[in-house]
Symmetry: C2
Subunit: 357 residues, 2 copies
């Protein structure tokens, strides 16, 4: 592929010619040099650093036979060009979240997180029991193999410049909230605004938007939102356990010997749980810092409001699922599994969280 074609195909940002890696998978003698692009900013803790940690682990485990060079969003292709770059074979690996590709593959949204859906433990259990097979089916036409690659855990509900006491308070509210959660906010009368990460803080500070969600305490603290909006709401009903993804170019995957295929799968699963561990521990510490050092005012969405949002979410999901056969199939499987484990959750983790305080 010529440099011109490469740039055209991936929409790569301008880079010095020397910065462009050779797009070859094969480095001779049973050795592979692969490139990985992510949707994350450089050095973003846990997400980008996790991708780098993964690459290092794969190198160690393979005795140097599989080397992965990791590029942050925009370094080689734009963040939102990751799917196409891996699908088209420009690079072999990508990392992001499947709901970024909703415009291309609506059914992909269910594999990140669903409003009032499954938490991290539930997502992992679903993916391990039929969910991943479905995900593979959905991505197969794109020459992609997906792997769960991390989970943020339960997120926070977002930062608000004014209090939210009832559904009516969403009326006219300008909120940065992507994905299926954004659809629910729109149904509630809000105006959904999508902004690149770097523009969220100034927009919130200047009142261009009234609210934003991001991830959880650890990453929200880093973004400084506490300086722009006083109320920090929970729970993050819109993303109860967002699963991140590793995208593997299927042709490249199949070109690997079997041992390196299983090694890659296993290293991805290790990254999956490592990421959740980092979020769980990091959020715990950051929450204390937000409250104690920055006097953030925590607010819980009222139960009546949550019940209404849950109804809207169910309507919204049914609408989304009706858009194509693949979404319908994934939605049905997701709901079946969610209902299957809900009773068990009520008897196990629910009372656990009742006694931790």
């Amino acid at each position: 592929m010529s440099r011109r074609e490469f740039l055209k195909k991936t929409g790569a940002v301008a880079l010095g010619a020397t910065a462009l890696p050779a797009p070859k998978a094969w480095a001779g003698e049973g050795k592979f040099v692969w490139n990985m692009v992510t949707t994350w900013p450089p050095n973003l803790p846990v997400l980008q650093t996790g991708a780098q940690r993964f690459a290092e682990r794969v190198r160690e485990m393979s005795g140097g036979r599989l080397r992965i060079q990791v590029y942050a969003g925009g370094e080689l292709v734009p963040a939102m060009g990751v799917f196409d770059a891996v699908s088209g074979g420009t690079v072999q690996l990508g990392s992001g979240a499947s709901y970024y590709w909703a415009g291309k593959v609506p059914a992909a949204q269910w594999f990140t997180s669903v409003p009032f859906g499954l938490n991290a433990q539930g997502m992992n259990a679903w993916l391990g029991n039929g969910g991943l097979q479905l995900w593979e089916d959905i991505y197969d036409p794109f020459n992609l193999v997906p792997r769960p690659f991390g989970n943020t855990g339960m997120q926070m509900g977002g930062w608000f410049r004014s209090e939210i006491n009832a559904l009516a308070d969403f009326k006219g509210l300008k909120m940065r909230i992507p994905g299926l959660g954004g659809k629910v906010v729109a149904m509630a009368g809000g105006t959904v605004v999508l902004l690149p990460p770097s523009e969220i803080f100034p927009s919130l500070e200047r009142g261009v938007i009234d609210a934003t969600e991001w991830v959880g305490p650890m990453h929200d603290l880093r973004m400084g939102f506490y300086r722009a909006a006083p109320y920090y709401y929970y729970p993050g009903w819109h993303e109860p356990g967002s699963c991140l993804e590793l995208l593997i170019n299927k042709k490249a995957y199949l070109s690997l010997p079997k041992d390196l295929q299983v090694l890659l799968d296993t290293a991805a699963m290790e990254c999956n749980i490592w990421t959740l561990n980092e979020f769980e521990a990091g959020n715990g510490a950051a929450l204390v810092e937000l409250v104690e050092s920055h006097q953030v005012q925590l607010r819980r969405f009222p139960d009546v409001l949550l019940a209404r949002l849950k109804q809207l979410a169910a309507e919204s999901l049914a609408e989304e699922a009706a858009r194509d056969k693949a979404s319908q199939r994934v939605h049905a499987a997701f709901e079946k599994f969610r209902k299957k484990i809900a009773g068990w959750g009520t008897l196990s983790e629910k009372p656990y969280y009742d006694f931790i305080a």
Copy 2:
């Protein structure tokens, strides 16, 4: 080591001489043939089958360079001889739960589960953020390297022949409940009975014991306890997220090239999450079956009783921790981490479980 020494050292059950594998780690040409003993009955779902699945994955990932032969409890050494067999180098790998070795290493108990302690997500986060380093320190004098190797998730409170409405109902109650949970039941006035797995059902059926805990719906269903006791209590306050362990003989571990060391670690972590996934999905389905097909009567321990048990657990843990320096150190680290993430759990997973029903 002679066969006589082998039997003496490990307390192995009598086996035909031909059944004893050669205890060699090295099979020449960079290849390793290792033996693994577990504490589980043959074919025990998820636990024993998970160990076999792990061995197969390691074989695949290593391109056949590391082959592991798995033996169930009693096949090569008695279930309770696993720690000594791996520590002494008779075999290279073992699998069980660290609280089985409480008599030898009291501090080991914290790495399985602590009454009113951490759930699976909390245990994983702790082990990933300092806990594993402590565990390694505790096992180092025994020439052992520990790795988390699965988690049962939150357990059930047990099967009771009569209802439990208050702490007084534990008075004189004969219950099969091992570990730190058993100490709490004893403090509440109960009589703790320890029985091998095969004797639990008949003892419960004949009224030799009044109650037993086991694991959760999936494994409890298989044991048939619903035919011997009508009341199935929750939550499993005594084991909120039991972590299973992989034991690696340290000398054998260090004899591996670096790539196989990291490969083994990574495969163990994959097994860790796979196990939890299987429990989460399997318990969901088994609970429905227990209630719908076997008319099991679910009972929740009253909140007042749980609050009293929690007080007793705190006293019991403080007493245990005071027994030696290592326990004191582990207990302090565990409590520090538990408190660090408790606030976050209250804002994240707690409200999640409030809206799943």
